[in-house]
Amino acid sequence: MKALAARRHHRFAPVVLIMLALLVTGAVYAALAPSSAQAEDAVTTADDIEHGAALFQANCATCHGVDAVGKADAPSLIGVGAAAVHFQVSTGRMPMQSNAPQAPVKPVQFDEKQTMQLAAYIASLAPGPEIPSAEAVDPTLGDPARGAALFSTNCAMCHNAVGAGGALSEGKYAPALWNTTPTQIYEAMITGPQSMPVFNESNITPEEKRDVIAYVVAQRDGTPGGENLGSLGPVSEGLWAWILGIGVLIGAAVWIGAKSS
């Protein structure tokens, strides 16, 4: 220990410390990071359904009713399918915190296993849209160019041309898609959560859905031009140009015109 303390002023000490800190951070992240959904591996068992039912009774039944048939403020979950449950719970939208124009994304309340159990329970009540396989949502298998054509016709009017989100009426909004996983994007299309309409197989085929996902994911690489200012178009760009750009120009003009002291 004493030998170590004596070397703490060595000029390589900060480098070694930073390397150690990076290693620890990486190891902790690898241990704690949520693993991606392995939908195709999940084989639903009667045990899962039982656990899911218990979770449902404890966390969801207050609003959705003990038989999941819905109440005045909450819809029936009969036939919504595993995909709807997985989307709502894995994005943190459900359980809903309070009555609002729409359920916002918030920290996820259940881990992946519990979410799958809940989904298995709801799916056991009546058939509905299923959670897509990992292959069905793999953005590397999709064609982003074809996805762009589909996205601009079917999605862009609400979700913005690159998926930055946008406002709807009366406090509702189409959320940004920057952090939505491919599985969640697929689930949203087939289940139509909240204000969003349903885009079923006859409207956008599963292959086309994968193209759309490829396009959305490709937008996360940013733009070749530099800072995109939120991709919000003329509002943010105009603010930037008029306030910052013109401000700097005025400042420069004042500086050039001022006498030196």
């Binding site: 009426s169 006859s202 690489d221």
Partner: protein, 347 residues
């Protein structure tokens, strides 16, 4: 103006016209810090050198980026190339500009120099000579003697502007064919197809809560207006439709439109009746359709009536039904012109 002057003019009833502002002249020259303190001058010099140095670094940085960065065509690669080249170029120019200005302001002599303006007018002799030359020239050319030639020259010059003025003015609003706004390519039996994939839609496949962006099926319309043709974009702009399905008991329908929908499936023009934006923000739960341009909101469960915003008329409805194979088809064209109002709309 001194205080005593102010008192005298306000107390006198007669305004003292002789008390005018006098030319204040050049303000007293103030010495800068650098003019008296060699240390300050040295500091300014170092700042200017640093600014030019910034420019040099910018140029070197740009060169380094130009030759050093790999030819990476991915988005991230192009972004880093643009960023480094731009920053290098920017600092190279900015450093020169800032350095030159700071140099001029803080180090170069700043004594005020007055240069009196000279008269703009030439001397009387020079003016008389110029006029004389002009008159001699006109007399020498004999313009006054050749009347027809003079008339021809003036006519040619006067008529020439017509060659560009007539086409320019003549083409303003040349297209007065407004009947094309009254009709779209929809007609009886044209199948509804998905946009942009152009697949005909079976009524049985449309689930409740769905929203379909619809175009007329390519094989059911005339060849000269099909996708890929020159006229298609014009025709598509008028013919786009949003089709949704809701529980049939949620639909409120006028008696004369009862058979325009099919088991809860309704189709409305996607061109806003306000100024023609594509109105397509459909909220499944409220059946409200929001226009992104000016927030006009239409109730798709109630004849697409306007429930909010500047639009004045409901969206035109496309009467639909199913054919023998179960595909959704139009019963006819829209029964009124789609899109924003124009003068002769209902004539």
């Amino acid at each position: 103006m001194s205080d005593s002057n102010l008192v005298s003019t306000s107390s006198d009833t007669e305004v003292a016209t002789s008390e005018q502002f006098s030319d204040p002249g050049v303000p007293e020259h103030k010495l800068r810090l650098g003019d008296t303190d060699p240390k300050a001058a040295k500091r300014s010099e170092r700042i200017v050198i640093a600014l030019f140095g910034l420019s040099i670094l910018g140029t070197i940085g740009m060169m380094a980026a130009y030759f050093g960065l790999p030819q990476d065509t991915s988005i991230a690669g192009v972004r880093i190339q643009n960023l480094t080249l731009g920053l290098g170029l920017g600092f190279a120019l900015l450093g020169i500009g800032l350095g030159a200005i700071h140099w001029a302001k803080s180090l170069m002599s700043d004594h005020e120099v007055v240069e009196e303006r000279h008269s703009v007018e030439s001397s009387p002799e020079a003016r008389a000579e110029a006029i004389q030359k002009l008159q001699d020239g006109v007399a020498d050319a004999g313009v006054a003697r050749r009347g027809v030639l003079k008339g021809a020259a003036i006519s040619a010059v006067a008529l020439f502007p017509l060659s560009f003025a007539v086409p320019l003015i003549g083409e303003i609003g040349a297209d007065w064919n407004i009947s094309k706004f009254r009709h779209t390519v929809w007609r009886r039996g044209v199948r509804l197809a998905t946009d942009p994939t152009n697949r005909p839609i079976k009524a049985s496949e449309v689930t409740i809560g769905s929203a379909y962006h619809v175009i007329p099926y390519a094989e059911d319309i005339d060849e000269e207006v099909r996708p890929g043709s020159h006229a298609w974009l014009d025709e598509k702009a008028k013919a786009i439709v949003l089709m949704v399905r809701m529980e049939p008991n949620e639909l409120k329908e006028e008696d004369d439109r009862k058979d325009w929908s099919y088991e809860g499936i309704v189709a409305y023009s996607k061109v806003c009746t306000h100024v023609g934006c594509p109105v397509a923000l459909y909220e499944r739960q409220t059946h409200h359709l929001l226009c992104p341009c000016h927030q006009s909101t239409f109730d798709m469960a109630d004849g697409a009536k306007v429930v909010f915003g500047p639009a004045k008329r409901p969206l035109p409805q496309l009467p639909i039904t199913v054919d023998s194979e179960g595909y959704l088809v139009a019963q006819s064209d829209f029964t009124e012109p789609v899109g924003p109002s124009f003068w002769e709309r209902l004539k």
